[in-house]
């Protein structure tokens, strides 16, 4: 469309964006992470992750993030299958209704879960009304997982929905035609074909769940600390940026692993490139 010179001119803003605002800041984090307050190279802050409190928080974060990701995956597959199988007029509206909660401020809706789950909350009041024993739900790992699933389920649903709706109906009919029952159809055809979407969904859920500090602060009652809470505190209360950055570098290891996983499945295909 253009000559090389104007193409390169047009690419400049992107290169500045990628260089100055994406890579240089990441180098800043790594730099802070491997130096001490005097600016000398030190791995002491990185090693801090093995200290009891930090290590526990990391393990808890990984555990809860994994559990939430699996739950999201298990919830999203049937949901997307149901939504894509009915080719009716109202499908668009129903699908939109499932995305709509995304526009509600996530801080406030997580807060609302507090109102629902807490000792004197809606569920316990209902239990009391029918003379059942009340439950301790708030400030438990379960509450945090619920908050994570609530907040990140749409990120699992969207890529799955897209990759499912890309499967031509006749492919599924072909599987059935060749003798596959509903389970065989799912495991031999649908699952392999939607794997890129599922992987992209897993990444989109796992990383924010691993690094959140808001959900744990609201539904964990400040007692259950995730690695995100600790990093946030290092910046806003302790003002130990070097430690905060060192812990972030640890998180980045997970993120890089995740990126590699996503790229291996390459869900972003260049459409229309072949034409």
């Amino acid at each position: 469309m253009f000559n090389k010179f104007s193409r390169n001119v047009l690419l400049t803003p992107f290169l500045i964006w990628a260089g100055l605002f994406i890579f240089v800041p990441l180098i800043f984090i790594v730099w802070y992470g491997v130096t001490d307050n005097d600016g000398n190279f030190s791995t002491a802050n990185l090693a801090m992750i093995f200290q009891r409190g930090f290590w526990d928080a990391l393990v808890l974060s990984v555990e809860l993030a994994l559990v939430s990701t699996v739950i999201c995956l298990l919830l999203a597959y049937p949901l997307c299958l149901i939504l894509t199988e009915r080719q009716r007029d109202n499908t668009t509206i129903i699908s939109l209704l499932f995305i709509l909660p995304l526009w509600m401020n996530s801080l406030l809706s997580t807060m609302a879960w507090q109102t629902i789950l807490e000792g004197n909350g809606i569920i316990n009041q209902l239990l009391r009304l029918v003379n059942l024993p009340t439950l301790q739900m708030i400030n438990t790992p379960g509450a945090i997982v619920l908050g994570m699933v609530y907040n990140f389920l749409p990120y699992m649903v969207l890529p799955l929905f897209i990759s499912l709706s890309k499967i031509d109906r006749s492919i599924l009919e072909a599987a059935q035609d060749l003798g596959a029952n509903a389970w065989q159809k799912f495991f031999r055809v649908i699952l392999p074909l939607t794997l890129p979407g599922a992987v992209s969904g897993i990444t989109m859920v796992f990383i924010p769940a691993l690094t959140t500090f808001v959900i744990s602060a609201l539904l964990g009652g400040g007692k259950l600390l995730l690695i995100g809470n600790i990093i946030e505190q290092e910046f806003t209360f302790q003002y130990d940026w070097h430690l905060g950055c060192a812990l972030s570098v640890i998180l980045m290891i997970f993120i890089v692993l995740n990126m590699l996983l996503t790229m291996a499945f390459d869900p972003i295909k260049e459409e229309g490139d072949a034409a």
Binding site: E173, A174, D177, L178, G179, A180, L193
Partner: protein, 419 residues
Amino acid sequence: MFGKLKKILRRTKSTANLGSKTFNGANFNASFFVAEFHTARNLLDANFFSTMSQIFFVKGCWEMKRELIHLENVAKSFGSLRVLDEIDLTIYESEFITLLGPSGCGKTTMLRIIGGFEQPDTGRVLFDGKDITRLPPNRRPVNTVFQKYSLFSHMNVEENISFGPKIAGKSADYIRDKVKYALKLVNLDGYEKHDVTKLSGGQQQRIAIARAVVNEPKVLLLDEPLSALDLKLRRAMRRELVRINKETGITFIFVTHDQEEALSMSDRVVVMNQGYIQQVGTPENVYNEPENAFVADFIGDSNIIDGVMIRDRVVKIFGREYPCVDEGFPADCPVDVQIRPEDIKLAPPQEDGFNGVVTRVVFWGMSYDINVEADGFEWLVQSTTGRTVGERVSLRVAPENIQIMSKPQSEDEEVAQDV
């Protein structure tokens, strides 16, 4: 009455010829018998009917094929749209039958009902005498070749073809042999490890056929499988499909809107429009003896004119009486008259002839399409010799080439012919 019989006999001769040309002549005659049975029933009185049926029964009996699928009064609607109505059809073992009609005529829905992908609102589907109307697709002895091939993109050729046998729990040795056989059948030996997404359209089509045939179905359903291929490939695949049908003995139910495809491949053609079966018969039968104006118009080119049957073997067109060979219509009965463009001969104008003026000439390579205006009607004539625009000519048609069809009677048929 004898005219009709003569015509029928003429047809018998031609099917016999064709029978010797193809591998399965017996099939032609048997199907012909069934098709003629319908026409005959309408036209002949009871006495003659019994004689006729005796003649044809004796002839047809030893060649008669076993009934495989029977659709019984099937109807289907989508919302308020009625896509199939009053469908009664018998499909015989090993035949190549084509459902032909314009888009939206219900042919694909009919195929999907046989495949089990749709359920009819009323009526039954019988397979080998057993009711399979509610049986899901995975439990029917029927396989489908889809329009878009619908290969599994995450599997290679071998995995695609072995999908069905694997599900059925066949042994690895059996599957390997079967895949090999199926690939040989579609002329793609040695393609086992190829990536299906990298194959050409024609190759993908063959793999789709192999994937279906490998399950040894009794019936293969083909939903416009050639429509995505280019003309040359399409022609080659037509021959391939007929060969596979004869080689395997699997019944082929083929859906298309392309009349050339239908006529060149099928043992029998089912012409459909607006959810109704218009005519069932051999390719020659539906071409030469269309039962109504829709069939005449849809298959091949036709001149269709209003006429009145004066008496047996005399029809009145544009105020003049012409001899024809059809009989059995009531006196002064309004009819549709069909004359094929290739059956009209052009001659120099004559005093008392049927004269007209050439208005348009198009050269098609093998022949010319010539439009002639006569009596306020634009006649289409096909001829191997060209004419010039403005030339005065006379039109001649042999009596046996004037095809008389009854006008649609019921309201439904009226609708059916409204396209």
